[in-house]
Amino acid sequence: MDDDAHDLPPLRLTVPEPEVRPGGRPDFSHVAIPRAGAVRRPEVDADPESIRDLAFTIIRVLNRDGEAVGPWAEGLDLSDDDLRAGLRHMMLLRAYDARMLMAQRQQKTSFYMQHLGEEAVSCAFRRALRPGDMNFPTYRQAGLLIAGGYPLKLMMNQVYSNAEDPVHGRQLPVCYSSRDQGFFSISGNLATQYIQAVGWAMASAISGDRRIAAGWIGDGSTAESDFHAALVFASTYKAPVVLNIVNNQWAISTFQGIARGGSGTFAARGHGFGIPALRVDGNDYLAVLAAAKWAAARARRNLGPTLIEYVTYRVGGHSTSDDPSAYRPAEESNAWPLGDPILRMKNHLIARGLWSEDRHTQAEAEVMAEITTTQKEAEAIGTLHQGLRPSPSDMFEDVYAEMPPHLLRQRQEAGF
């Protein structure tokens, strides 16, 4: 069979490349996008093998006309207030991002990471959870806090590392922590918390509790080894956890093809573990919420983990340290076929007669006013280099529950 192998051409290394680089014309024609409402909604206890196709399509609810259509829309039954709240949360997050970006440019803090284009994912997901449930977020899920009603001022205090920062200025900006909000302390290390989410969920099951956990990871970070640890443990112990993958197409300068490799989608990773996997329109607030509820219901019924890939696009730079024009066409985000999550939700509300252009313009103003007022309050406390900051002696606290002798000595030496 391989007798001829000696005459074969020499081997070559394959290195995946995005369709376009700066200078080229953005082209997402390769992204197959089914009609909204086209994808079936199986029972939550469906056999994973029987729903493999859901990892290779895109579950969508909002159509071009702003209508919520198809089986995933049905289960939702959201009140008009719920819908308006959803829009408002996304608008708040976007406005908050805009102000914090600006604040970073003004050197009021060292660093910032925004959500532009991805607002629907974390804002909608939060609404599928219950008090007591726990998220293990990355740095790009602040919507979990905003949709949970966490005070914007506390978020700003954290970004500014000021005297009222809940984590005492110890963490980089956006590394929030709020137990009450079910928002686990963010680690700067990628993927480590995915397996922790599984462990937390296992603990809930061990304790005969009813709370569930949600893990969060980016497309690029699925390559990390702890992603595997999480899927292995979740699969083996049927942990009540929702494992979210936010595929925003980019990992800093690296396009998603480098992490995804030969598999069609990230959702497909679940199939190697017998874990049901959904692929969802991440710019569709209602689709995200519908999928999240489906997965949460599985977890609560002790049916085990669900893997969800949210297909979205990172419109902004990776962080304030990043300039994407160096590695992708500037216009690429406009070419992104799934549209803008806020615009789509707005159109839905209008189509439902719950909203209008005027009301929206007004809301934008209200939201921005709320943010700026809050920002003034936060800045009145302090920013990274000005005003009230945590006391330096605090630097030695919380390394341990009780300060051991060598740290007491060091604190003294430091003169605090």
Partner: protein, 337 residues
């Protein structure tokens, strides 16, 4: 009181802890049905059920990472890494996550996890069943690092570790599991039952973390050591006749510096002894601290005796292991200066 090996003492500690506190869960590779390759968890699954003592997939990062999530939830996980040599895949979870969670969240989330692992050589385990990586933990602020040298301490320290609100790395010298070992590999093995410290109190008691024990009082020199080497040091003292004060540190982080300094100021001479490789080993920290704290009392340079800076070679186990001969020589040289 009951005669116990170190394995039995560890199992007893886990049993007492699980019996007293539902939040204590025990898991790791082969720890469930089988009870662990060293049998430290034997019988616990049968007694407390599969949800509180279970086998895990072979993924050390997963074992510790899941444990961190459980600890953050409010359980008291006690996880086993089958050999300390296999802790490296879990190192990121230990250093980046367990050790920093309290700090990062300003105390909002904490990580009361105990990470047990057999450590050290002397069983012809070669490079991957003999390592002593304690110094890779003592450099990590936020961790506590414990190394028992006998059954009584093993049980008391483990119960203290489980009760501790912070992550504890619990290194169990595997050569001591079934009996004390003074480094004389060519002599018949001795059992714990013929040793005072094999006499273990029943029920709950703790040996506080952060306190050293003086195993032998002496005036000629201070030996700072822990784990298996405690027994080697005692043998070397007897055999050389050097009146050494042998200190069993028991907890490496936080260190009981007062006991260390008091002894060295008394003896004026110090030998630091461990099985781990020399360079950047925990002995370096001990020597650095002692010279700083006792400079004007030192009559001779602090000596370090440790494993050579090579992997642990299978066939040369006893040329590598810092046995009584090497330790004795060092004691003599130290005291003859």
């Amino acid at each position: 009181m009951a005669r116990m090996t170190m394995v039995e003492a560890i199992r007893d500690a886990l049993d007492v802890a699980m019996g007293a506190d539902e939040r204590v869960v025990v898991f790791g590779e082969d720890v469930g049905y089988f009870g662990g390759v060293f049998r430290c968890t034997a019988g616990l699954q049968a007694k407390y059920g599969k949800a509180r003592c279970f086998d895990t997939p072979i993924n050390e990062s997963g074992i510790v990472g899941a444990g961190i999530g459980m600890a953050a939830y409010g359980l008291r996980p006690v996880v086993e890494i089958q050999f300390a040599d296999y802790m490296y895949p879990a190192y990121d979870q230990i250093v980046s996550e367990a050790a920093r969670l309290r700090y990062r969240s300003a105390g909002e989330f904490t990580c009361p996890i105990v990470i047990r692992m057999p450590t050290g050589g002397g069983i012809f385990g070669g490079q991957t069943h003999s390592q002593s990586p304690e110094a890779l933990f003592t450099h990590v602020t936020g961790l506590k690092v414990v190394v028992p040298s006998n059954p009584v301490d093993a049980k008391g320290l483990l119960l203290a570790a489980i009760a501790d609100p912070d992550p504890v790395v619990f290194l169990e010298p595997k050569r001591l599991y079934n009996g004390p070992f003074d480094g004389h590999h060519d002599r018949p093995v001795t059992a714990w039952k013929s040793h005072d410290l094999g006499e273990v109190a029943e029920g709950h008691y703790t040996v506080p973390l952060g306190r050293a024990a003086v195993r032998r009082a002496g005036r000629a020199a201070t030996v700072l050591t822990y784990g298996t080497m405690v027994h080697v040091a005692l043998a070397a003292a007897e055999e050389t006749g050097v009146d050494a004060e042998v200190i069993d540190l028991r907890t490496l982080l936080p260190l009981d510096l007062d006991t260390v300094v008091a002894s060295v100021k008394k003896t004026g001479r110090c030998l630091v002894l461990h099985e781990a490789t020399l360079t950047s080993g925990y002995g370096a920290e001990l020597a650095a601290l002692v010279q700083a704290e006792c400079f004007y009392h030192l009559e001779a340079p602090i000596r370090r005796v440790a494993g050579w800076d090579t992997p642990y070679p299978h066939v040369h186990e006893w040329s590598y292991f810092p046995g009584p001969a090497r330790v004795g020589e060092a004691l003599r040289a130290l005291t003859e200066v």
